[in-house]
């Protein structure tokens, strides 16, 4: 791709346009392309460069930097496998934590695959987990229909969002009910407390955004919870096109005394 000299005005226009398009589910492909274009523009702007570079050159440099380019963090760079056999929890968490070290937050790109984990995935403030969709069929029991799936085996929530301006897009979260390697005989009997929880525990967690997320088979708990405790709050969130199948509770909203969910 060829990029010409950039200007502040052009960058601002793209920022505004992308922020608006995010709201529209049918524009995801455009959003992705524009976001990618924008991040590259930003990066090139930061290094005060006016250059012409093709895709191969950019990829080459990304490999050298190894960890992140602009605001994108690639989970595959941190060793996630996504074959439904490896325990990808710690690698995925490392990618998220890496993105979180950037004070401006970032987006963690999750490739296609089934990412088995026995530890909850914690999404802190400013980080968005971006998958590759949840496959061609929401009814595919083992998610062999493609997409990016976090398959959790444990008793906690599969994904815990505990910071503002964070979120998830285009992926599935699954309470894994099958035998699994060293957990043979374990996972089928282990029911998670829930799928995704947005929790304001003693603080305000606001402006969380979930879009095109499939949450599946949390029959022992809530598919999605918005919970505020210890004078905390969960507010101003945006939850778009959530597909919730088989759960004890689809969406659970709870605020204890002194807290709020609104």
């Amino acid at each position: 791709m060829t990029i010409a000299t950039t200007s502040i005005g052009t960058i601002a226009a793209l920022v505004a346009f992308v922020s608006l398009l995010v709201a529209h589910q049918n524009q995801n492909k455009q959003i992705h392309n524009l976001s990618r274009q924008l991040s590259e523009v930003l990066e090139l702007s930061e290094i005060n460069t006016s250059l012409v570079e093709d895709d191969n050159a950019l990829l080459s440099r990304r490999t050298e930097e190894s960890v992140s380019v602009g605001s994108f963090t690639y989970a595959s760079d941190f060793g996630v496998v996504g074959d439904s056999k490896a325990n990808d929890g710690s690698a995925l968490q490392a990618a998220i934590d890496s993105a979180a070290t950037d004070s401006s937050g970032g987006t963690v790109i999750l490739p296609k695959g089934i990412f088995f984990t026995t530890q909850p995935i914690v999404v802190p403030a400013g980080v968005t987990l971006q998958g590759q969709g949840y496959g061609s069929s929401p009814l595919a029991i083992k998610f062999d229909a493609g997409g990016s799936t976090i398959a959790y085996c444990g008793t906690d929530y599969a994904v815990k969002i505990n910071g503002s301006s964070s979120g998830m897009r285009d992926l599935a979260v699954y309470d894994w009910p099958y035998n699994h390697g060293e957990y043979d005989g374990g996972c089928p009997d282990i029911k998670a407390a829930g799928g995704v929880v947005v929790k304001g525990d003693g603080k305000l967690v606001e402006s969380v955004a979930l879009s095109n997320v499939f949450i599946y088979y949390f029959v022992g708990g809530d598919a999605l919870s918005l919970i505020a405790t210890n004078n905390g709050g969960v507010g101003y969130g945006y939850y778009e096109n959530l597909r919730l199948r088989h759960a004890h509770t689809g969406i659970n909203l709870y605020a204890e005394t002194g807290s709020f969910v609104k």
């Binding site: 529209h24 809530d222 505020a228 101003y236 919730l244 088989h246 909203l253 709870y254 605020a255 204890e256």
Partner: protein, 544 residues
């Protein structure tokens, strides 16, 4: 679109020029689209909180598990509510008696619009006036003008005649409980004003003769009324009296106190005595307090602030859909009074506004030759009636007015009935009759026995005793009921059962056995055959 946007609100404004909808302006948690489905649900969406959990907005979400243990939407808490726009709730496997949405009394200000299918919403609509959903599979959520008082027309009363003490110890007004005074000396008697047309067609007027033995005479429903979502109730009765203060409507208020309506003015005219008020939902109690002579008609009670419409609403002539049990009324069929001229003694007149089932007060002294044949007595065209007889001997005669099947008279036995339909004229046609079952006593003479022929191998089965034959020992069977006179009708299936071993059925052109294999009986074996009406039998199955 402008290229520079500093404030996102400006961007939204500009962006709105390009798209027809904008979801990005949200002041609270906002859920857009999406669906909840599948199994194992206790709750679809649950909002139960101790503190602020309100104004969370849902646009266009679909919640459609086949069923849920508690509810598809459950909201509870004094500061908890949801705002839902264009949502869809369905529960195709849910029992009709269970609400799909439950808004507990503690919650208020919920907003729900869209479609709710299969069952209903439990909520206090006075606290949640913006719950306004379409319901394609029920009759609507609004208060309907259905009267909660059963038998508001005072039909089917009995035992209203006075005994020697001037009391009515056996009086019954179905649907109503009459209280006041003692059983021996009730402080009011009630009668039906037969000649009074009252205010509404088909509604009798109940005349209450207050006897003033102390205290009020109370009239109330004899059953627990349906509990509705509304906290208001509207009820009353049309009353005519010349006694000031003769009647008032009384109920238990939501606080637990007993409150009363304004009483009758004593004008001698019909006045509606009733009220609309918050009622005690934990201990509902409504009655009419009577302390003077009064005529009553068309009592009504409905929940909410919509007065009930006296009488039944008309259904569409092009068809109507009903839910619930349809119960038809039961009337009494009395013979013509003794003063009837002899030639009319068999001309019965049934009440036309009490139902379709008539308990016939008749016995062998009675016959029925005509039913409501005079123009003023006739039932509408298409009316089907069933005459139920407790006593034997009543004859329903077949004639031009009562056309019975085959011209055959019906003579009652105990617990028998005949059903007739009218074309709206004075004549009736038989639909069906129940003349009682013929009791069949076990025979002491076994007749379905397959006995061996006196000679040869051609067996003949007895006809007219069934199709299962206990076969005696004998020579092998080459043919079965072979002669024309002995043959069974086309399609007859017989089973031959042997208790003893050693009898053989030989495969042949007349006994076509499976795979051409002879059948040799063992103990407790059987062979099942079918005939086409000829001399030939075909094997159906064998039990060896």
């Amino acid at each position: 679109m402008h290229v520079l946007c500093v404030l996102s609100i400006v961007c939204v404004y500009e962006y709105a020029k390009f798209v027809s909808f904008v979801y990005t302006l949200h002041s609270t948690n906002t859920f857009v689209g999406g669906a909840i489905s599948g199994g194992d649900f206790h709750y679809g969406i649950k909002a139960v909180s101790d503190d602020d959990c309100n104004d969370n907005k849902f646009y266009g979400i679909c919640v459609e598990p086949g069923d849920s243990e508690v509810a598809h939407l459950y909201v509870a808490g004094a500061t908890t509510n949801v705002k839902m726009d264009n949502v869809r709730f369905e529960a195709s496997d849910r029992d009709l008696s269970r609400p799909i949405i439950i808004i507990e009394e503690s919650s208020y200000g919920n907003v729900i619009n869209g479609l709710v299918g299969h069952t209903h919403i439990k909520a206090d609509f006075n606290k949640n006036p913006d719950i306004n959903v379409m319901n394609a599979k029920s009759v609507g959520m609004d208060p309907v003008p259905v009267n909660q008082f059963w038998n508001a027309s005072f039909k089917g009363s009995s035992g209203l005649e006075l005994d020697e003490t001037g009391a009515q110890p056996n009086r019954i007004v179905p649907g109503w409980k009459l209280e006041g005074g003692s059983a021996a000396t009730p402080n009011a008697n009630v009668f039906l004003l037969e000649e009074d047309t009252g205010l509404y067609p088909d509604h009798n007027v109940l005349k209450v003769d207050y006897r003033n033995f102390g205290g009020a005479f109370k009239m109330m429903a004899d059953q627990t009324l349906l509990q509705e979502a509304h906290s208001f109730v509207t009820f009353g009765v049309y009353a005519r009296s010349s006694v000031q203060g003769s009647i008032s409507a009384v109920m238990r208020y939501t606080s637990g106190s007993i409150i009363s309506s304004a009483s009758h003015s004593g004008s001698g005219d019909w006045e509606f005595i009733g009220m609309s008020a918050l009622y005690s939902r934990s201990a509902p109690y409504f009655y009419f307090s009577i302390t003077g002579d009064v005529d009553l008609t068309a009592p009504t009670l409905t929940f909410g602030q919509t007065p009930a419409t006296p009488g039944a609403s008309l259904m569409s002539s092009s068809g109507a859909r009903m839910s619930g049990t349809l119960t038809t009324g039961v009337g009494i069929g009395n013979p013509p009074p003794p003063s009837t001229p002899t030639y009319k003694k068999k001309w019965w007149i049934l009440p036309t506004n009490e139902g379709n089932i008539f308990l016939m007060n008749s016995n062998s002294d009675h016959s029925i030759e005509r039913l409501n044949d005079r123009g003023e007595d006739r039932f509408p065209r298409g009316t089907v009636i069933t005459l139920m007889f407790d006593e034997p001997g009543t004859k329903v005669e077949s004639n031009a007015y009562i056309e019975l099947t085959g011209g055959e008279d019906f003579v009652s036995s105990a617990k028998t009935s005949i059903t007739l339909i009218t074309q709206g004229t004075g004549s009736w046609q038989e639909v069906s009759r129940n003349e009682g079952r013929q009791l069949v006593e076990p025979s002491t003479t076994p007749s379905c026995i397959g006995t061996p022929p006196s000679s040869g191998n051609y067996w003949v089965l007895p006809k007219g005793c069934g199709t299962v034959f206990l076969m005696e020992s004998g020579p092998y069977i080459a043919r079965l009921s072979y002669s024309t006179a002995d043959r069974f009708p086309y399609g007859t299936v017989v089973t031959l059962v042997w208790e003893e071993a050693g009898n053989t059925v030989v495969d042949s052109a007349y006994m076509k056995l499976k795979n051409g294999e002879n059948f040799v009986s063992g103990e407790q074996t059987s062979l099942t055959l079918m005939t086409k009406g000829s001399a030939t039998w075909y094997e159906v199955s064998r039990n060896v």
